[in-house]
Structures are given as C-alpha cells and as structure tokens.
C-alpha cells in the first residue's frame, strides 16, 4: 500500500473525564494502579434492569465547568466532551487566538448520542404532548452536537467530522483526524470520543446484544479469563489535540507521541459480537505495523479490544498469534479499561490517552480481575500491577459489533 505521508501527526494535549477520574492526573493514578472505579449505578433505580453496575462518573457537577444556559441545551455526554476538550486545549498550551481557525477543527466519535436528553424528551412528549418537548432536543441528541458545540466554544472553523461506528467510533475519529492532518486538510484537530450508555433504555438494549456481563459483580469485566462473560460499561470522554508536527515544533509544544498508523478491516460476519476468526483483525494489525514501520521489539504493549467474550477473546488471541507468531508471548498485552469500564466510543481515545501516559511514564497499566487467565490464549497479559517498559510504541485495537477491526499505532517522538 502506498503511503501519502506529506506530514507527521503528533499529540500535544490530552483531556479526560472518566469514572477513574476527572482530569489526566486522577485518571492516570487510577488506571496505572488498577484501582477499580466500577460501582453500583447511583443515578436511577436498577432493580428491574439486567445491568446494574458501571463506571459511572461520580462527583460530576456540570455547573462547576459549564454555564447553565449551555447545560440546558446539551446532553451529559456533550458536557463531558466540552470539559475534556478544555483540559486538552489548556494542556497543549494552545493559544487559539494565534491560530488560523480555518485550519482548526474537531473530529469526535460517539455511538449513542445524547440519549439521556432525548429519552427524557420522549417522556415529555408522550405524557404531556408534542409541545412539551424541549426545542433543543435535536441539537442535544445528535452525535454531531459534540463537534458543533466544541467548534462554537473554541471558534474552530475547519474540517470537522463525527464518526459513529459502535465502540470503535472514537478510535476511528483519531484515525480520521490523523489522515486529515496528513493530507493538509487541517493543522490542529481536537479529536477523540465520548459516550454515555448509563441510561435504562440503553442498558436494556445493550444487554440484549449479548456484549455485557450482567448482574451486580463490579469485578465481572475480565478479558481472557476462564470466567469471562462480557464487558462492564462506563461513561466518559477522552479528547486529544492532534497537530501537524512542524506546527507543534514551531510553537515549542510538548509532544506526547506521534500517530503513525490507522487501519480498518472488516469481518463482515453479522451484526453480532466480534468474530471468533482473527483473520481480518490480523490483517488490520499487520497493515498498522507496515504503515508505522514498527518492529515487534519496539512495542511496549498491545492495548487489546478485550471484549471478555469467549469467542471474541479467541478471535483476538488468534489475530495476535497470526501476526506475531513465536514472538507473541513476548509482546505484553493489556486491557487497562478493566479498571474504569468500557466507555463505548470513548474507549478508544481513553485507551490512546492511557497509552500516551504509559509511554511517558514507561509503565504498562494493568488488566484487572483476571485471576483465572486462561493459558490457552498464550498471551502475555499484564495483570494487577503496572509493569515497567522501555518500549516506544503502543498498538491499540478495537473491534465493533458488525465486524469492524480498527488498529491505531502511537509512537514516542525522540
């Protein structure tokens, strides 16, 4: 495959709001120590629901960050996006007044949109009539609300997109932003993802898609474990400032890392959990290694999709073995989001932020809850405690229901 790499793309700022913490420091503290932040859901009664625990963000008071007028027009997930974006912009020390704003945009993935806001409006409409629906329902509910509100708040006038593809939407958003800067469509892109699945109707529908561990066990999310029965959900947002490398150097920005590859393949096996076949996923990993010119020994760890479903786990393990062969046992694998829960489309960006901090701190955050790791997978899973690393790259994998396999590669910049 020919590469059209006119420009290099680096990450100069990060912003996080997750069950593990609001802000990158609190988040890293949680995730590097494997301190589980999954709790019984507090926001609504759960006796009648099959899913009752999640990575819920507690202590989140929107008015601490955002003016009331905007709160009334936005869903919780967009508020997360705005807060994480603010942190990322500040972290990057980006002075937007000095930028050509037609060259600044936003690419944000979100699967479930402003579902909490919208479902509240369903109730208003059906119990009190059509005129009781909030006039802001469309703008609060559409996934594009995230790039819309970010662009308005920060004055970004450039290339902006909303990726929506189940749980890989955020990872794809980072990939799309990477491609866009490579092509010269933009110089700075606010990129990442958000999602909020913790809502009764949404939990019921996700439960029916057989992806989640059900019940009350907060430790149930355990990929590659003999007892694996699905993931546990979370809410949150992860946003990064992606920037043209030369642009970053000129303004003396601190560089966390460089995106060196983004690949997408498809199993096309049906609208169901990730496939037991690792063939197409392996192809995605291979494409990323080639595009990024990465050697296995450079890889600090593989941040796995880690769906914790026996068939999907088998597919992922198969893919890793197909790609790395006899070296597979030497490549550390981890699923740090076992600590905070799977934040749907935000998971990929949160994994990427975890990876950047891991490379910076030279520590691989652990996978937790896997006391009964199944040795048949033959994976070098980093468990319970962070492991030091001298690796310089992280590969991030994500697989959607419906068959999409996405791999993003991030490397330290020397």
């Amino acid at each position: 495959m020919t590469r059209y790499r006119e420009r290099r793309v680096v990450i100069t700022g990060i912003g996080v709001i997750a069950s593990g913490g609001i802000g990158q420091q609190a988040f890293w503290e949680t995730i590097s120590n494997g301190l589980s932040s999954i709790v019984p859901i507090q926001r609504f009664p759960t006796e009648d629901l099959p899913i009752r625990v999640a990575g819920e963000i507690s202590g989140f008071v929107a008015t601490n960050y955002i003016e009331r007028k905007l709160i009334n027009r936005t869903d919780r997930t967009t508020q997360f996006t705005l807060i994480a974006t603010q942190e990322a912009v500040q972290d990057a020390q980006l002075v937007l007044e000095e930028e050509a704003m037609e060259r600044v945009g936003a690419v944000i993935g979100c699967a479930l949109g402003g579902n909490e806001y919208v479902l509240q409006q369903f109730r208003a409409m059906y119990t009190r009539g059509p005129r009781a629906m909030s006039a802001y329902t469309a703008i609060a509910g559409l996934q594009v609300a995230n790039v819309g509100q970010v662009s308005i708040r920060h004055g970004a006038l450039g290339y902006s997109k909303t990726a929506i593809h189940d749980i890989v939407g955020g990872l794809d958003a980072l990939g799309m932003a990477y491609r866009a800067i490579q092509r010269g469509e933009a110089e700075v892109l606010i990129a990442g993802g958000c999602d909020g699945p913790i809502e009764p109707t949404v939990l019921l529908s996700i439960a029916h898609s057989d992806q989640c561990a059900l019940g009350d066990d907060v430790r149930a999310y355990r990929p590659f474990d003999r007892r694996a029965s699905g993931m546990l959900l979370a809410e949150g947002a992860g946003l990064c400032i992606l920037e043209d490398y030369d642009h970053a150097r000129r303004r003396g920005a601190r560089i966390y890392g460089e995106i060196v590859a983004h690949s997408q393949t498809n199993d096309a096996h049906g609208m169901t959990i990730p496939s037991a076949s690792g063939k197409q996923y392996a192809r995605a990993i291979q494409l990323a290694l080639e595009e990024g010119e990465l050697l296995p020994q450079e890889i600090a760890y593989f941040s796995a999709d880690g769906r914790a479903l026996p068939t999907s786990d088998a597919g992922e393990a198969e893919a890793l073995h197909m790609v790395f062969g006899s070296q597979c046992g030497r490549i550390p694998v981890s699923v740090p989001r076992t600590t905070t829960g799977h934040a749907y489309a935000a998971a990929g960006p949160l994994d990427a932020i975890t990876a950047l901090l891991a490379l910076q701190q030279q520590l691989i955050p652990p996978t937790i809850n896997c006391e009964q790791l199944d040795p048949a997978y033959g994976l070098n899973l980093v468990r319970d405690q962070a492991r030091p690393t001298s690796g310089s790259a992280v590969l991030l994998g994500g697989r959607s229901t419906g068959g999409s396999n996405v791999v993003l590669a991030i490397r330290k910049v020397e």
């Binding site: 409409m125 929506i164 898609s209 419906g402």
Partner: protein, 427 residues
C-alpha cells in the same frame, strides 16, 4: 500523487422514485415525492407532510427475509441501494476475496435508529407509564434495529466486504461526507472500491417533532407538493423526507481496465464548520464561501469552468439567503450565469441521505447533460435572484458540477464532480 476516483454505479431510493432511472425521470419531469404522512397519525403535529418512499419492496430489491426482521427500514434502504449500485456497476457477485479486502463501505446518517428507539421505548415503558423494564413481549427489543452503524456494517455483511467500514453522522451533510471520505480512502490507496452514501428514515412522531418544535418544518399541509420551495418567497421551512443513495466509487485505472461505465470523476471534497450556531448559518454565508472557494481551488477548477451547482436548498428562510450571499461573494456577476437547482424541492429533506441523493443526481446530470428544475418557483424572493432553473428541466453543457450540503451542528461539505473525460481534455 493521489490516485483518481470515478463513480461507476449507483442505487437510489427516493420519495419520488425507487431506482436511479425512476428518480431521474421524476426529477426532470418536476414530479414531487411529498405527500400527507400516511405512516402514523400526524394530526397533532404542525407539519403533517413528508417525502415518504412509497411501495418499498425490500425482498424485490435483494434484501433477505431475515434482514427484514432484524433490520430497520433505513438499513433495508441501505442494503437495497448498495445492491442496485453493485448491479449497476456490473460487480454484483464478481469480486474475488482479495478484491473484497480492498473494498469498503462508508455510510452517512443523521437520525439512525431514532424511530426504532421510539418504538422500543414505548414498549419498554408501556407508552411512558413506568420506567423502562423488560417485558415478555417478543418484539419489544431488537438491538440490531437501533444500532446506529448498521447501514455500513450490514452492506458489508450482505456482500462480504472486508475493507474499511465506517459511518459518518454529520447531520444533513452526512451522506456527502461519507462519499468524500470514501473518495480520500481510494485516492490514498486504502481501498480500490468503496460503496458510499447515506440513508435515513425517521418519519415518526419523535423524528418529526424534534424539528417541528424548532419551527423548522413547513406547515403547508393542504398542498404537500408545493411545500418544499427553496428560494421562493413563500418558503416556510423544510419538508421531512426519507431515502437512501449509495454510489460505487472506484479507482480510475481499474475502472478503465474493466471497461466500466463511468458516470463522473470526483475531483475534490472539502469540508468546514460554521462555529456560529447549532442550527442557523451566519447570514452572510462566509463559511460557505470559504468552503466553495476551497473546493474549487483544490479541484483545480476556475470559477468560469463551473457549469452547475446542486445546492443544499433546504427551503428554510435563512438558508437560501446565506447560500445566495455566498455565491455572489465568490462569483460576483458570474453568479447570475451559473445554473443552480435544489433537489429538495422535489423530494424534501431526507436528512443524512439528502447529500448522497444530491451527489447521485449531480453525477447523472453530468452524464446526461440535463439539469433538473427547482420546482415551486412562483414568487421570487428579492434576496434570492439567481438562476435556480425554475420549474422546468433544461438541456445544458455541464462539464463540471459542485454539490454542497450543510447540517445541524454547522458542518458544510462540498463535492466537485466532472465528466469522465474532462481532466484529460485538450486544454
């Protein structure tokens, strides 16, 4: 050096015609697809009209029985349109496994899953009488009907396509964005063929009401076919519609090597955002100006070479004022000589599908050298005084065309298309 990308197939499901020929015939004949809503009792809504797709027979269009059970209407539209596009391109069941690894699907949608979410919520709460909980009713919840990425994913499943698969949700610009992103994917060598387009079907109480409550919808209920009237002084809001369009994009050398029929070449794709307001464009249309300029420059097209604009033309009072201001700012006097037509006058606003339907008809315009009219032009708006090809289709020399769309959230996108031989012409 980027590779070149051409359109070699298309499938269309529109309120005024299913299939590209029916769609084309209806548009150039000025036939509207807007009617009074039949699918639910809309009498308590201010707007009771929509562009519904009539007589959609999924089985006849190659959607399987199982797909009809597990997938919602818009996903069925998507599969049916993709089937038509592959058939049209002569590639149905013709691609090897290796070729299918180099074939992907990008689809755009604004309101995927909304109507099914509404039905599901009603069942789980018994019409809002209690919080959602499990019911024994078998049909209560089919998650695949609500997953917002099914359009692209199911096209890939149906045709066993293993290349890049993604969905865009940039509101009313989504379908065009999917086509533009697919164009870039082939240019850059990430795929050799892409099915790309958009679909939406949200003509439901909630789907209508989210716009009605904004006052954004036309209330010309007594005369549905005259309600969508972009640029006309009496326009009073857009008309909700449903539909889908899928184009087959192909790397040009490979298309030529297999003697594929080529509708048009894609010269460029550009996109920006207003950063102004979540629903209304700035009245002077400056971001749109910048977008159109950028689209033409990137495509290497000079102003005087542009032969046709298929506009966003949604039939809302502010939109067409901003559009017209943008055209005049860029083209000056030349703006009066470029024919402009608005497909939404014929079919209403099919949300995420609209920009894909408009790309399809723009490609057909280049192929057939006939421009479809903007219908319902009866009372000129003095602020909109350009040539909108009023009411009657027109033969014209069209070598280069531009189609643009704007969406809630403020995204503006444009595609520049040309006749297949234009880029290599004797200059």
């Amino acid at each position: 050096m980027y590779r070149r990308v051409v359109i070699t197939g298309m499938g269309v499901i529109a309120p005024n015609g299913i299939g590209k020929e029916n769609f084309w015939d209806a548009c150039i004949s000025g036939r509207s697809g807007v009617r009074r809503i039949t699918r639910f009792d809309a009498s308590n809504l201010p707007s009771q009209i929509a562009g519904e797709v009539a007589d959609f027979d999924p089985l006849a269009l190659g959607v399987t029985e199982k797909e009809c059970v597990y997938l919602d209407r818009a996903t069925q539209f998507s599969i049916a349109s993709a089937n038509m596009a592959l058939e049209d391109a002569g590639l149905m069941d013709r691609l090897s496994e290796e070729e299918r690894e180099r074939t992907g699907v990008f689809m755009g949608s604004a309101m995927a899953g909304v109507d099914e979410l509404e039905r599901t919520w009603l069942r789980l709460t018994e019409s809002g009488n209690h919080p959602p909980r499990e019911t024994k009713e078998r049909e209560a919840l089919i998650p695949t009907r609500m997953m917002t990425h099914t359009y692209a994913a199911m096209i890939a499943v149906h045709h066993q396509l293993y290349g890049p698969c993604n969905s865009l949700a940039t509101a009313c610009a989504a379908g065009g964005d999917a086509i533009g992103e697919a164009f870039w994917a082939i240019q850059e060598g990430r795929a050799d063929r892409m099915l790309a387009g958009g679909a939406d079907s949200a003509i439901s109480p909630v789907g209508m009401n989210v716009f009605a409550i904004l006052g954004a919808l036309s209330t010309r209920n007594e005369e549905p076919q005259r309600a969508s009237r972009p640029y006309d002084a009496l326009r009073d809001g857009f008309v909700m519609a449903e539909g889908a369009a899928v184009l087959l994009l192909e790397e040009r050398e490979q298309a030529l090597a297999r003697n594929a029929h080529i509708y048009a070449e894609i010269l460029g794709f550009s996109s920006n955002i207003n950063a102004h307001h979540m629903t209304a464009p700035p009245p002077d249309g400056t971001p749109l100006q910048r977008l159109l300029l950028q689209a033409l420059r990137k495509s290497g097209v000079k102003d005087e070479q542009l032969d046709y604009i298929n506009s966003h033309g949604s039939s809302t009072p502010p939109n067409e004022v901003a559009e017209t201001a943008a055209y005049k700012a860029i083209f000056g006097e030349l703006a009066y000589r470029i024919p402009i037509s608005a497909t939404k006058s014929l079919i209403g606003h099919a949300q995420g599908a609209s920009s894909a339907l408009e790309a399809a008809i723009t490609a057909l315009t280049l192929e057939r050298q006939v421009i479809h009219p903007t219908i319902n032009q009866e009372q000129p708006d003095p602020r909109c005084d350009l040539d909108y090809v009023p009411n009657v289709a027109r033969r014209a020399t069209v070598n280069v065309a531009l189609t643009h769309s704007s969406g809630f959230g403020g995204v503006n996108s444009a595609l520049v298309l040309a006749r297949p031989d234009w880029l290599d012409r004797e200059k």
